[in-house]
């Protein structure tokens, strides 16, 4: 590994050496020390994003990252229900494999199946959740940041000691429906003027039991059947520990993180006729360590280095007596190193960037006839950004050189070029109105399961590609006087085309399925978002946020298919959300509403596959107070207030009305 690193360093030093701070480190700079690093114009983001942060996140009474993402436009959440149920997201109908998820600046990987279960990421220590369509359009970023069709950035809290304090504690306890108990401790300490640390631990347990109801009416309107049962085998226990060090340098910063997540859970499974309980279990041990170093080398040149090592151990068992026993382990390892370098060619006006990433992935398993696959990814990105009086521009070109092999075989390589262009125009000097557009080509590699899974994999798969066109406007106005504080409105229209979609296809009776590049999807959509902050009466603050998504995503694979030009599964035409917050002195009240319109659970848009719209209303009430030097906050929440019985995924019932109480103590 050392040899690899030094080789890699040599390569990077030869090709690199370029500039600047980016938005992330700017923030860190502001927070870590008292000295504020002045951000430069050219590497700021060209296209704004959707963000939920700080207090807004806390008020939503969400449990995990997936719950929070429901409030973003363009996102569809696949939720299998309950505290331990798998939750993945799909942005603009392109499929969850096209989405990159970044945890404190480094992409989370799952080379096995490409799915990141967002339910495993707690909001406990989360400072900010941001969604970027296309890519985060700031150029001083790793090459992998240029590679996804869209990306979500999760940023945890960085300790901040403004008043010469040395230490801070925060502890939270929450109890809720399904016997859920969640407790966490955060300890932050300043070690020196230039060094802070934080330690964060969290424990979660739940029985996962909740009542659900299915019912049908007969043609004459009477009840045909109506059944209520308790969700079984959804129990979970999980522990998370995270350690962080944040250091400040002259004109730079560094950080180190260690992360450990351990869990054991039941997989509740589909509710079908005569089956109310299943025996699948899964244990996960996910660990990773990552480090980051950033420095402005000169006025015009900055560099940033990142490294990560991850190890994931998944243990899947099936003890259901009606099926045959399964007991398998999957071990994934990942090594990642990256450098990003930015140079200003014209100060604050024009900059160029060069990034290089190396990633090594390995999967092993004890399943029968498994041949462990290895993947080497070398990514090189060139990007440039210009900042003109009325126009911001950014262009990038990413070369992905990927080599795969299975044990005993030889590496086979492939190279893909993916360009992107982002433009943002400010017609007026005050920048209240901006018009933006982007066009981007991206691809996703077939996962190890797609390629090599025993009996099912197909080693000759090509990557799945996505082409995106987007055009949007933003209206953003702040007021210094009057009851209206702030108004923001953004709307985007987009057209996406997914080619060579990787789908499971029947092989004939013998093995039943294989993976093929056999799908084309045409997607047209509109995302609209509006936000406003009002203060109608002194000390009464109202925040409102409304989001609506329209998606038309059609399967255009083959005219002869029964589902040709039908809406693809689980994409509603209409969906949206609304958040209304009311803040008065120590009180915070929050109402949030989520709507997903009618959709289909299979390729064919027939009545058999039709799914009802669903919509839930969640309420939370918070009260904060201080006792001596301690700060307290109590929260009461009611979710799914109207007790709607709904499925997000067919036959996976969601919880009805549920409650939670929590207390937080800081000192």
């Amino acid at each position: 590994m050392l040899a690899l690193l030094s080789w890699w360093t040599a390569v990077v030093v030869c090709i690199a050496q370029t500039t600047t701070t980016d938005a992330d480190s700017l923030l860190e700079g502001q927070r870590v020390g008292e000295v504020t690093v002045v951000g430069r114009q050219t590497f700021r983001e060209v296209i704004p994003s959707q963000t939920l942060k700080g207090k807004d996140l806390e008020r939503l009474s969400t449990h995990n990252v997936a719950d929070a993402l429901r409030y973003f436009s363009g996102i569809q959440l696949k939720d299998y229900g309950g505290v331990g149920g798998v939750k993945t997201v799909d942005v603009r109908s392109m499929g969850s494999n096209h989405l990159g998820i970044y945890y404190d600046g480094v992409q989370l990987g799952n080379a096995q199946n490409g799915q990141i279960d967002l339910a495993q990421f707690s909001l406990d220590n989360m400072e900010e959740v941001t969604l970027y369509n296309g890519q985060k359009s700031s150029i001083g970023q790793s090459a992998s940041d240029f590679g996804n069709a869209s990306s979500i950035y999760l940023r945890t809290r960085v300790p901040f000691f403004p008043d010469g304090e040395r230490e801070r504690w925060r502890t939270r306890v929450k109890y809720g429906s399904s016997d859920m108990l969640r407790a966490s401790v955060l300890w932050e300490r300043r070690l020196s003027d230039r060094l802070v640390m934080s330690a964060n631990g969290e424990v979660l347990t739940a029985s996962g039991k909740y009542k659900f109801r299915y019912h049908r009416t007969a043609q004459d309107g009477t009840t045909a059947w109506d059944t209520t049962a308790t969700r079984q085998n959804g129990d979970i226990h999980a522990e998370r520990v995270e350690l962080n060090l944040h250091g400040r340098l002259d004109e730079g910063s560094w950080s180190v993180k260690a992360y450990l997540y351990n869990s054991e859970r039941g997989i509740p499974g589909a509710i079908v006729n005569n089956v109310w309980k299943r025996g699948e279990r899964q244990a996960d041990l996910n660990t990773f360590g990552q480090a980051h170093w950033h420095k402005n080398l000169t006025e015009l040149l900055s560099t940033r280095w990142t490294a990560k090592y991850a190890f994931y151990d998944t243990h899947y068992t099936n003890r259901d007596e009606t099926t045959l026993p399964v007991d398998n382990r999957y071990l994934q390892k990942e090594l990642y190193v990256s450098t990003a370098n930015v140079m200003d060619l014209v100060k604050d006006r024009w900059s160029v960037a060069l990034s290089y990433d190396f990633r090594w992935n390995h999967l092993n398993s004890d399943i029968f006839r498994f041949t462990p696959p290895t993947r080497l990814s070398n990514l090189v990105a060139f990007a440039t950004a210009a900042n003109l009086p009325h126009v911001k521009l950014q262009g990038s070109l990413l070369a992905s050189i990927i080599h795969d092999k299975v044990q005993g075989g030889k590496f086979k390589g492939q190279t893909h070029w993916t360009p992107a262009l982002f433009v943002n125009v400010y017609p007026w000097q005050n920048r209240v109105l901006s018009v933006r557009a982007f066009v981007k080509r991206s691809f996703r590699m077939p996962t190890f399961n797609d390629l090599y899974y025993t009996d099912l994999g197909n080693a000759s798969l090509r990557p799945e590609t996505a082409m995106q066109w987007d055009l949007g406007v933003v209206l953003d106005k702040r007021f210094t006087t009057g009851w209206l504080r702030n108004v923001k409105l953004q709307a985007d229209g987009y057209i996406n085309r997914v080619n060579d979609k990787i789908i499971a296809y029947p092989k004939g009776q013998q093995f039943r399925w294989t993976m093929l590049n056999l799908g084309k999807v045409d997607i047209k959509g509109v995302d609209v978002e509006a936000e406003a902050t009002l203060e109608p009466v002194h000390d009464w603050l109202i925040t409102a946020r409304v989001q609506y998504t329209y998606q038309d995503a059609r399967d255009v694979t083959d005219e002869r298919d029964a589902y040709y030009r039908d809406q693809i599964p689980y994409i509603p035409w209409h969906s949206g959300s609304a958040i209304l917050g009311l803040h008065h002195r120590q009180w915070d009240f929050n109402y949030s509403f989520i709507y997903a319109g009618e959709r289909y659970n299979a390729q064919e848009n027939t009545p058999y596959n039709h799914m009802q719209p669903w919509y839930t209303s969640d309420l939370s009430l918070m009260y904060g107070f201080s006792v001596g030097k301690t700060l307290w906050r109590l929260t009461l929440e009611v979710n799914n207030v109207f007790d709607q019985n709904y499925d997000v995924i067919a036959n996976y019932p969601m919880p009805g009305r549920n409650f939670g109480v929590s207390a937080e103590l800081r000192f």
Partner: protein, 382 residues
């Protein structure tokens, strides 16, 4: 905001029991001297709970899709998850619903529910002398991956399980000859987890309901049918991993012992008898193990020789994407081929005349794979 949400509440309708749909198959209304129609059991994908029952009415040439829920609106969560077999015994129809761990028993004519028999991981059913025999993947557990299959004996009137006997690994189809029940063991699961498929037929003496022997045939057996000469036709899916191809075998009694008398040197996925003809189809695999071509042929029951390797005329067999079951009407000789298409959307039912000329095609539920003919009501019946 609250008012908005109340407004939206009206968007959500009460979910009704879905009525069946009708399609005119546009075929001349004939045939039905002996049979009134044919039930088609569509498997539906695992976990989807979309197993549906369709019915082709011969007299009107109308195809009715999804009739179970309509006839039994009170049954919670409809017919179930993954239908694997359908047979009629007397006036009752038995449907083996694999992933719902039950056998559903209905009146064969009205399709009204009579009851169910809970049998875990049930696969196929066959009948003799007032008893139903149901193969199940769940039997005695020997060790971690070694779980034997079993055959349940069920009283066809009371629907009570009256006996259970362990057989080989993952038993599939069964047939009865001379008071003996022959069970094809696949070892399908076991082959995937430890690489050892089962290769045997278990023989059960029905008078004692105990296993009296096994017959070694070939790996991964599936179909097991008895022809009019009491010969057993059994199919093997082979072992692709080890280069053992899919084949069919004929067994007959020689010297008081059932044994393999012929190897059919071609892949056979499913078969149906009419007179001395064995209609079958099978897949030819390419180098990657994917079917490159499906063959539709006829074998002779007596000589076991190939009569033709393409009974479908005018190349219409190319329209069938994924053949998943075959039925031949005894009197008219009409050939029905079920097409599972891509397994995740509607299937199709192809109908050819006895010469193999295309007659019609109609959409079915998801994954049609099993069918049974409904005998015409005798004049004396009401």
């Amino acid at each position: 905001m609250l008012s908005l949400s109340f407004l939206l509440y009206s968007c959500r309708k009460d979910e009704g029991v879905l009525p069946s749909t009708r399609t005119d198959t546009e075929v001349d209304r004939q045939d039905s001297e002996e049979y009134d129609g044919m039930y088609v059991l569509c498997e539906g994908n695992m976990g989807s709970n979309k197993c549906t029952l369709d019915y082709l009415d011969f007299a009107t040439a109308t195809y009715h899709q999804n009739i179970y829920a309509e006839r039994n609106p009170e049954v919670v969560m409809e017919l179930g998850d993954v239908g694997n077999d359908i047979k009629i015994y007397g006036s009752r129809m038995w449907m083996v619903i694999n992933c719902s761990n039950k056998v559903e028993v209905v009146d064969a004519r009205s399709v009204r529910r009579i009851g169910q028999v809970d049998i875990p991981n049930c696969r196929f059913v066959t009948f003799a002398d007032g008893f139903a025999y149901v193969s199940s993947y769940v039997g005695r557990s020997i060790s971690r991956y070694d779980v034997l299959g079993s055959v349940y004996k069920v009283d066809t009137l009371s629907l009570e399980v009256v006996g259970k006997v362990d057989v080989g690994y993952q038993p599939e189809e069964m047939a009865i000859v001379g008071g003996k029940l022959y069970v094809a063991n696949s070892g399908g699961y076991r082959g995937k987890v430890v690489g050892e498929y089962d290769r045997t037929i278990s023989v059960i003496d029905l008078s004692t309901f105990s296993v009296t022997g096994t017959i070694d045939v070939a790996p991964n057996l599936l179909r097991l049918r008895c022809d009019r000469y009491n010969q057993l036709w059994v199919t093997s899916r082979g072992e692709y991993e080890n280069g053992i191809p899919s084949r069919a075998y004929v067994l007959a009694e020689r010297g008081g012992k059932m044994q393999v008398v012929e190897t059919i040197d071609r892949p056979v996925s499913d078969l149906a008898f009419r007179g001395d003809s064995v209609y079958f189809y099978g897949a030819t695999l390419n180098g990657e193990g994917n079917p490159s071509k499906f063959n539709y042929g006829i074998l002779h029951t007596k000589t076991h020789q190939l009569v033709t390797d393409h009974f479908i005329q005018d190349g219409r067999d190319a329209d069938i994407k994924t053949p998943y079951g075959i039925v031949v009407a005894p009197l008219s000789g009409d050939i029905y081929v079920m097409d599972a298409t891509n397994y995740t959307s509607s299937g199709r039912l192809f109908r050819f005349d006895k010469k193999g000329n295309f007659k019609s095609v109609t959409w079915t539920g998801d994954i049609p794979g099993h069918a049974v003919l409904l005998k015409r009501k005798a004049k004396s019946e009401k």
